[in-house]
Subunit: 555 residues, 2 copies
Amino acid sequence: MSSERLIYMPLGGAGEIGMNAYVYGYGAPDKERLILVDLGVTFPDMDGSPGVDLILPDITWLKDRADRLDAIFITHAHEDHVGAVAHFYRDLGAPVYARAFTANIARGKMAEFGHPEEAVRTVSAWPEQVEAGPFRVGFLPISHSIPESAGLVIDSPEGRVIHSGDFKLDPNPVVGEAFDPELWAEVARPGVRALICDSTNVFSAAPGRSESELGEPIEALVAKAKGMVVATTFASNVARVKTLAEAGERAGRSIVLLGRAMRRMIEAAVETGVLRSFPKVMSPEEALEIPRENLMLLVTGSQGERRAASAQLARGKYRGLTLAEGDLFLFSSKTIPGNERGVIRIMNQLSEKGVDVVDDAGGLYHVSGHANRPDLERMHQIVQPQMLIPMHGEHRHLREHARLAEARGIASVIAVNGMMLDLSGNAPTVAGYVETGRTYLDGSVKIGALDGIVRDRIRMALNGHVVVSVVMDEEDEPIDGAWVDLMGLAGTGTSKAPLADVLEEDLAQFLGRAGRKTLTDDDKLEEGLRRVARQSAQTEIGKKPEVTVVISRLG
Amino acid sequence: MSSERLIYMPLGGAGEIGMNAYVYGYGAPDKERLILVDLGVTFPDMDGSPGVDLILPDITWLKDRADRLDAIFITHAHEDHVGAVAHFYRDLGAPVYARAFTANIARGKMAEFGHPEEAVRTVSAWPEQVEAGPFRVGFLPISHSIPESAGLVIDSPEGRVIHSGDFKLDPNPVVGEAFDPELWAEVARPGVRALICDSTNVFSAAPGRSESELGEPIEALVAKAKGMVVATTFASNVARVKTLAEAGERAGRSIVLLGRAMRRMIEAAVETGVLRSFPKVMSPEEALEIPRENLMLLVTGSQGERRAASAQLARGKYRGLTLAEGDLFLFSSKTIPGNERGVIRIMNQLSEKGVDVVDDAGGLYHVSGHANRPDLERMHQIVQPQMLIPMHGEHRHLREHARLAEARGIASVIAVNGMMLDLSGNAPTVAGYVETGRTYLDGSVKIGALDGIVRDRIRMALNGHVVVSVVMDEEDEPIDGAWVDLMGLAGTGTSKAPLADVLEEDLAQFLGRAGRKTLTDDDKLEEGLRRVARQSAQTEIGKKPEVTVVISRLG
């Protein structure tokens, strides 16, 4: 019996949508050679991570084993799969492999950080395979909502594993390769030990729809528009951007790309040959000279992001362009849960300007990039894996996907972030648990999600902040009582006197009554002042604020 | 020509969903006698109003004219229509009129604040009318998602106006009166000058569905459940709670109501005779003695509210009851935009416990309480008003509803909060604008939304907070440099030295270089210290924090 084993462990993406990072390993326990599949980010929100710039996986475990890491493979260029590559380049050092379009995007990120672009290596589609320690890895093309998405064929001494990446089964994806069931079946024919499979749309009961279904309805919509047309979608959905642009062109409109990501993605698609034709585009400056009914703007910000082109246009202007009564604004997108408020804000700002807003409520102007439940079943059928490990999804998605597989007699288990599976046997077994979590990029610094820093910010936001300062003289007696500064708190409460005055009076009384033991001990003094400030505020305004006590001792 | 006029002005609810408050007036300009229809609240969120307890309309305009206010009429007992009644009772003083169920809820609110319950007066359904200055107002029953919702028939010397309240056209609402098209047509027959009409569902293209359609699917779902069944919905949807409870009873389960609002609403419905039969309920303590497969819990928190019963059950336990593998949790509800994160969090926590979650994705377990587009058209047709003023909705809803009316040849205008309309002519005209906004209940204090208090909290949450304190001696020289306290900021940055040390060093240098003009002037000194602290933090951690400077001068 071999002492080697094949392991799988998600560090991100399993128990959440976003921040994908999956470790595979082969070798003797705790000596496995490792590869990493995807290294993505997720996005902060005011509820849980105010002030944070970006959320990265906690890769401490992998960093501590960087000498065993042979390669990083990126399935596709979405931020939740490639976004953390440059942030962790110095920590991991391993070469990054991707197909041309993805590699182009990854190199752009490396360049921004001053890392060598050669760290990213372009790989052709299957049947090319990259040797990485005990693994041989190939990129098997599959359709998704971005060009050149790939499933990974991961061969090891324990046999073949397929990591689906994000995918849908699109026979006509407009840009890039159609899903090729014969190719997938052929790759699976020798037997697949495990299919590690996208789970995000497992609750969507109808078969997924093709990107190509959108051309006609979008063209009809644009054709009948009277004023300027603006359309927003994910910039990385190059097929969609092309469909939109062509609809504009056919309606005799000049196309303008607004937003950095929009230009960057089209550029990458053209540079890598993914996009072989695209209507001529015009700069915003040129567009200012053209009648609005002859313009179509393709803009970033479909998720309501406040700084993106959509939000700026809704608020006022972007690069000199403004919206007016009778213009049409198309959301060729779905609102990701959690982004509703931002999107609705834009819709209402547009309504106030008299702009007609069209979204996908009628199901005409957007299709998902992920495999729905029947598509997942079809994929199970094609690959016929010995075991299925649900990947990329919240817990409820993973659980449902595991059930789906088990209903077909395929062994399955729910593996969440930090759970290490041994895939060497007939069924997956849990080999251990690793501490994982989230790393916050905060300004230019990486901090731990549980460091307490962001918790303190949330507390200040909920409770307000009081600064109490006292100066103690050489005899440890307070000079002039305590001073109070308020931030984020009502100026007056029930007594109608200024809150700061009320607090200062209560604090002065406390200081007057305090004994030597308290006055000479910073900890005791601080604790007492904090308690009094909180009680006083509670009485006066019904809130217990955060309190910072500053004690200055002379001599 | 009469110098009197009939005016309408929303103070809340027009340009938003929630916080309804609509003023009507009749008389000579600026001397009109006034009535108020509804006085509701809306709910804070971390994005825009962290730490706030409740959002109330800004009624300054009305308070300044309280001597001209003859009555307040409440259409129904939803919080966004009745929630602010007790908060503003002292400011407005006017009697509150409502039907029995609504009055019961309103009196409960008055009692909580120690206001006289007699301030709330119960009115029977149409044809009873209340005299209020120049107005005669009647409550015309209409179906909605709460018992005894009413449209208001508002008669004035300028004729009849109908204020729809929130409504749907339900021929069989399970609890309370069915929509009675003949009665509405009869009331409208003498001619209706204006229909002020609910707009929230104007984008829903299909006709609304009856509450009674849910009984069968819910019963089938509960009948086949194996473990404990938990169902959540809005507590105020008494019909739904009844449907759920009866499904449980038929499946041989004992019913438990969890959450204060759930018990309060059923109590009010029984007390007022609205609910004449309801399955026997059991206390949580009794339920602990019953096998879980014989239990059905009806719980609050369908919107993911962190402190409600649903969230507590998902996290662990509530009143001793816990969930287990194989239990069923039904969301008989729709997630209100903005609440997705909270609801999804609960769903995943339930998934981790092995609980099966069912929601309304398949359209079987929830119906809306509002009139969809075809229902609105039917209402226009029945009432045949001279003009239609869209009410209760975001700007996009109001705009779409106004278009819908205009397409039928009914005069309309978009009136947002603070816009005063003159309804005396053949078509509505804008009579002026009033400053309106939101009032925050923050702890026990009311503050203005634009006072800057909440803005400061948001800034601390986004940027962190630095407290810089210096003590200046009798000669205006700093003693011991500056001290720094950090809150919500990374402890170390690029230099790897503690951030506080780096800041203190930079601040000490600044103090060392500062001239007499700066050292003797608190404003200059504060400005300089703030600038240095922000720059230093920017260099070190890439963030510019909020800074509070505390200067203590001796002598």
